[in-house]
Assembly symmetry: C2
Homo-oligomer: 369 residues x 2
């Protein structure tokens, strides 16, 4: 193998495929990055068997070939090497690969390329195409609500559904649920699968283009692939029956309250300062006829109270929340307004964003004494 390519393009590709390198593995080759050079292109791949990422960049191929380089040192070398053009080559059958630019020359040991489990890209009639910003919005507004508890894998993913000209993403950890809809005209395929939250979060970091880009989503029974630009990302899907989210969404309420999201965010942060040190990060919100009062308490440290000049509509009540779950949806709401839909101290609360009516957040109150 002997190729020449631009440093900036190679660095981008390395940083993207790096995300799928196996960290906990007994198979050393999975800690490497696979390079394949042919037909004016250099393809980089990595996989941990759960997820696989491939990216292709233009390259001058002097001699086609393959190599698997250390996923630790290769990215560091490309980051630090100076020069516009990088040359990568091996001599005869040596396992030493040379990476050269300007006056620096690195020689690094490589893994046997034939042993790398390359990604099998699949085609299928089951596919849809989504705009990059739509996909990012779906992910950003829901995936944070996933569970991180690996012992309940179902909730570590987001249910992704396509039907009747709509795409829906739903995530829950059973204490709160986030649901986002988007219209998706002309999607002829019905899709329903649970995609791991981790790969969806990585996707939002990788999908980062200056121009609108289409993302093609293709799926088989237990796999999903996203392709866009010169990038291909494949992931297993989570098997199991996602709970019927429609049953979780309450529909009758007695009280409502519209609040500026930023103001509420800062107030919740303050009153939960002491409480977050305790076992549960509980704050209480008292909706009274002409204010709302936030309170946090930690028997070992102290307490905090803050009053907001807001006039709720409906019955007065006091509800206890996990402050973290409230802060997370307020962060999504940003500088907009949020509307609380309340029924009683122990009924799930529905929070809607005033500037995105296709978004719904359900939060279960905490029972306190």
């Amino acid at each position: 193998m002997r190729i020449r390519c631009e440093k900036d393009q190679l660095l981008t590709a390395v940083q993207i495929v790096q995300k799928a390198i196996a960290t906990k593995t007994t198979l050393p080759i999975l800690t490497g990055i696979y390079l394949s050079a042919a037909d004016g292109k250099l393809e980089l791949q990595s996989t941990d068997y759960e997820v696989g990422i491939s990216m292709t960049i233009p390259a001058e191929i002097i001699e086609p070939g393959k190599a698997v380089l250390s996923g630790k040192f290769f990215p560091e070398i490309i980051r630090k090497i100076s020069g516009k053009t990088i040359e990568i080559f091996s001599v005869l059958q040596s396992s030493m690969i040379t990476i050269a630019a300007e006056k620096t020359e690195f020689k690094i040991l490589s893994f046997p390329a034939d042993e790398f489990p390359t990604i099998k890209k699949f085609e299928s009639n089951n596919s849809i195409t989504v705009k990059d910003d739509v996909l990012k919005d779906l992910i950003k507004k829901t995936v944070f609500a996933c569970s991180t508890d690996e012992s309940r894998p179902l909730f570590t993913g987001a249910l992704t559904e396509v039907f009747e000209d709509e795409i829906i993403m739903v995530a829950t950890n059973t204490h709160r649920l986030a649901l986002k809809k988007h219209s998706l005209l002309g999607a002829n395929n019905a899709l329903k699968m649970i995609i791991p939250g981790k790969i969806l979060n990585e996707l939002t970091k990788i999908i980062n283009f200056d121009v609108p880009t289409d993302v093609k989503i293709v799926w088989l029974k237990n796999q999903v692939a996203f392709s866009f630009d010169n990038i291909y990302i494949m992931s297993r899907v989570i098997e199991g029956q996602f709970p019927d989210y429609k049953k979780v969404i309450p529909i009758d309420f007695t009280s409502y309250c519209v609040l500026d999201s930023n103001i509420l965010f800062e107030a919740v942060e303050r009153v939960s300062l002491l409480a977050k040190d305790g076992e549960y990060n509980i704050i209480k919100i008292k909706f009274t006829p002409n204010t709302i009062e936030l309170a946090g308490n930690n028997p070992d440290a102290g307490s905090a109270i803050e009053i907001l000049d807001v006039i709720p509509e409906g019955e007065p009540m006091e509800i206890a929340f996990n402050a973290k779950y409230l802060l997370e949806v307020l962060r999504i709401a940003g500088s907009g307004k949020v509307k609380f839909h309340l029924k009683s101290a122990l009924s799930p609360v529905m929070i809607k964003l005033m500037d995105d009516l296709e978004y719904t957040y359900i939060l279960t109150p905490i029972r306190t004494n």
Copy 2:
């Protein structure tokens, strides 16, 4: 106690005294910040018995008094609370202290103020006054060379000497030594003490003024205090006999080499990329008649070579260095030039900064096979 003060001033003071709060202690009160309000001033203190910091800010004293507040929660509250003015008060003999601003009210538990070991500020004829930028320069160029090995306390501090119109700071971990001199006209006192590197590093962070400020250094046999602005910092000194640094500085050389510090820094970073994973972070520099060649090697990963177009003066030789020790002095040199003074592959190397001739760095080569 009942006081009012400006949030910004209180926040600055809290962030400064916070640095001396005890982290590992069996005495809970040392994890607190001591407040003392009287005569239009609020004084904050903290100490871990090794170091003590006091800072005073103006305050409206409605009722004088004292309190010791949680070193964990009090700074967080002051950071997050909103409003220009903060009111702090206790009611009768209650151990609850209220911190209020705008519509937020915190109540936090306090420690019994009488039990706090307040700092005993001392006066002494042994004192000198140094400009803040001179003191910061002395510290910045030497203290990084201290050892962090607590089992050899002598080398965790910097020797500070004043005599014959000069102030000198020296630090070493026995593998390298950094020495910086500054003229200090009219210093009538001879000073010689080993000041802990940790407090000197904190000092450079605290001394951060827009206008030139004088720092008064006062010392007793086993204590040193720095006072400036409305801040007083006290520290124990390290006892023991610092090695005679004058004997360490070599004086005869056979070869010299002037290099651009930034270029060398980046080259050393690159060639040490693979080597730094090994047990020693060794790079070799070969001074040849018309270039210098840097090489790093890691038997488990690979190797790197970089050639710099520099013409050394004198005998060719190859010297092995700990890359970290070389990078640290090059970081100090910044965008300037450095001059290597060499004698043989195993003789200590002297590195001088071309734009600060009062600075000397001695680096012992590594013996390799």
